[in-house]
């Protein structure tokens, strides 16, 4: 009860109630109307909400498959890591699922978690099912991409963590789930499954910059690299080297290896805004390609699939990996889907057609759930680059007053903006919950 009260206070303080969630707040002044700039540059420091790191924040680890032998090359990923921030009183527990290829402690996951914690909730942050640690430690088939399997894996992990927390004395009086980018897709899918299975009975499901179709968004991001890279893909390695060189030029050891937020903002400032859309697209496409390389390599090794690593080879702690990295840089998303994902998928599920897997990688497959459940909310940007034509109108028709669509922000560019965060907090408060 207490937690919900604080939620309501946060909502009230920012002048927003769930009933008005479709209205973009008046004080929304995010400056970048070019969605590629917004995506790369993110939120200018003076427009950011204040985030206070929860004082109870802690890192936990579980092994959903205790009998699994982790390959030596992934020795450090043998248990699934997650963050918790627990209140000292009864409160709702909210899970935050990270975006494509991202771990449980990205700046975005921590910002959302801090906001929820400040609103009175217990919070757990989880890596994406497409992230290396998840694939190694928590994925049944270690080849993410088939939604039903990924939801199974997520719910297994969420249940284990919840049980651990309860055992440790955490008092939970409700549940919520949220995620950003691909994590929003997973939050929706988890919410839909749970609406039938009733393990958690989520009071709130909030989707932040969700893709409609994972498959189409991935193809879109992949094209950005192909179209944007100077001289074509034969120059991939040079392009990558120049990108890291630019990072290194402003890199300071005290900042850690985090290529998001301020970091890109400062690169952008250094190049003085004199950068073409094509360059920005290439940059976005490159980061997607690097994430894809991590995913493909991990899946390949875990399954001995022989995609870029010989199926007979057991890579160890001291094995050289750079050649795999170089090969993967040149392989497209459709190469991965056709040559690695689908063969593995078909071996696991011989009775399920490829078309079915693609359909299930779209939120359109759970349209009824999102349309008919008043506790599912959406935050989005009208110019999000991962969406296609017709996606925003579809979201608006499905969510109605439960969608807040900001006029700009690109993909996740405005996520730290005070108005965006205030809306996020309000979607977890309001009267429609429970």
């Amino acid at each position: 009860m207490n937690g919900r009260l604080v939620f309501a206070l946060v909502a009230g303080f920012s002048g927003l109630f769930a009933a008005d969630a479709d209205a973009v707040p008046d004080h929304y002044d995010y400056p970048f109307d070019n969605p590629y700039v917004a995506t790369v540059v993110n939120t200018p420091p003076d427009q950011r909400a204040e985030f206070k790191l929860p004082d109870t924040i802690d890192e936990g680890g579980i092994e959903p498959f205790a009998e699994r032998v982790t390959p030596d090359v992934f020795w450090y990923a043998d248990e699934l890591r997650y963050l918790t921030a627990i209140q000292d009183r009864p409160a709702p527990l909210v899970f935050v699922i990270s975006g494509t290829g991202s771990n449980h402690k990205t700046p975005t996951a921590i910002a959302l978690a801090s906001t929820l914690y400040a609103g009175g909730a217990h919070v757990v942050t989880l890596p994406s099912p497409t992230q290396m640690n998840f694939i190694v430690a928590a994925s049944t088939h270690s080849r993410p991409g088939y939604t039903d399997d990924d939801v199974d894996d997520l719910l297994r992990v969420m249940t284990m963590i919840r049980d651990d927390l309860v055992e440790d004395g955490t008092r939970i009086d409700g549940y919520g789930v949220t995620g950003y980018s691909m994590g929003a897709f997973h939050a929706a899918m988890v919410g839909e499954r749970d609406s039938r299975d009733h393990v958690f009975d989520f009071d709130r499901v909030v989707l932040v910059n969700a893709p409609v179709s994972l498959y189409e968004s991935a193809m879109r991001l992949d094209r950005m690299l192909l179209e944007g890279i100077p001289g074509g893909m034969a120059h991939f390695d040079r392009f990558y080297e120049e990108f890291t060189r630019r990072l290194a030029n402003i890199y300071a050891a005290d900042e850690g290896l985090d290529f998001t937020g301020d970091f890109l903002y400062r690169i952008y400032e250094k190049i003085d805004g004199d950068v073409s859309d094509q360059q920005l697209k290439a940059l976005i496409g490159l980061s997607f390609r690097l994430i894809g390389s991590n995913l493909a390599f991990t899946s390949d090794v875990m399954n001995h699939a022989g995609y870029v690593v010989s199926p007979d080879l057991e890579l160890g702690v001291t094995s050289r990996l750079d050649k795999y990295f170089k090969v993967l840089g040149r392989l497209s998303f459709s190469d991965y889907v056709e040559e690695l994902f689908f063969p593995l998928f078909e071996a696991d599920h011989p009775g399920i057609a490829r078309q079915r897997a693609i359909e299930r990688s779209s939120l359109r497959s759970i349209e009824d759930y999102m349309r008919n459940n008043a506790n599912v909310f959406l935050l989005h940007n009208r110019d999000d680059i991962i969406l296609g034509e017709g996606d925003i109108p579809w979201f608006e028709s499905v969510f109605g007053g439960r969608a807040t669509i900001f006029p700009n922000g690109g993909h996740m560019g405005n996520v730290y903006h005070h108005a965006f965060i205030a809306t996020f907090a309000s979607q977890f408060g309001g009267e429609n919950g429970r």
Binding site: Y76, E241, A248, G256, S310, D312, K326, V327, L331
Partner: protein
Amino acid sequence: MRSVLPKLALATLLLSGCAGTPDRPLTPARHVIDEIERPDDGFPSDIYDPFEGFNRGSYTFNAKFDEYVFLPVVYGYRAVMPDVLEDRVHDFFSNLSEIPTFVNSLLQLNFDHAGRAAHRFLVNSTVGLLGFVDIATLTGTEQEREDFGQTLGVWGLGEGPYIVLPILGPSNLRDATGLAVTAVATAAAVPPDVSDTTAYEATAYGLRPIDTRNNVAFRYYSSSSPFEYELVRLLYTQKRQFDILR
């Protein structure tokens, strides 16, 4: 592809550069490095790393040392020290680092950086209460760091092979030499009746590394990439090249 010969040939190519030699030829992967055209002057992202096996072992050791020894000590330090005192300690060590920066700036004939280091050291050691408060930065004189590895680089010495030093982390032959020379020079410069005291040893080999680690946000295996070693190697090398040009 049913014939054994191309498999053998591919497997041999695949194996070149691998640490161990298995008993039988490996089934080639679907995509191998040879399908990529190698630029005449090598891949731009390649770093000379002939001791990669050792280096990767060292990287792994450092990650474990960090998790089980270094970070717990740093977190303990953070827990007992008020933030204000942490900052004072950091400023104090930062002020001491002006001395090697001054010397190396002179060796590089970089009088701007030398002057800046001297100015900062004088201001911070006096007005800044023996260096515990970084007044110089507050009054607009930003810190530059120069070390002996950079000095060697400025005078044209190549970086040599990449080396991951146990505990100390990414380096290369030139920078590691620089570190060793600096350590010897420091030992010679500090009078024995100071350097032999427990207080000096606790400060130099205890508090200082703790302060350094406390101010480095890097965490091993937090990049979500199985290619973190390659990424760190590339970024370290590029960063040093940039520092030398500056």
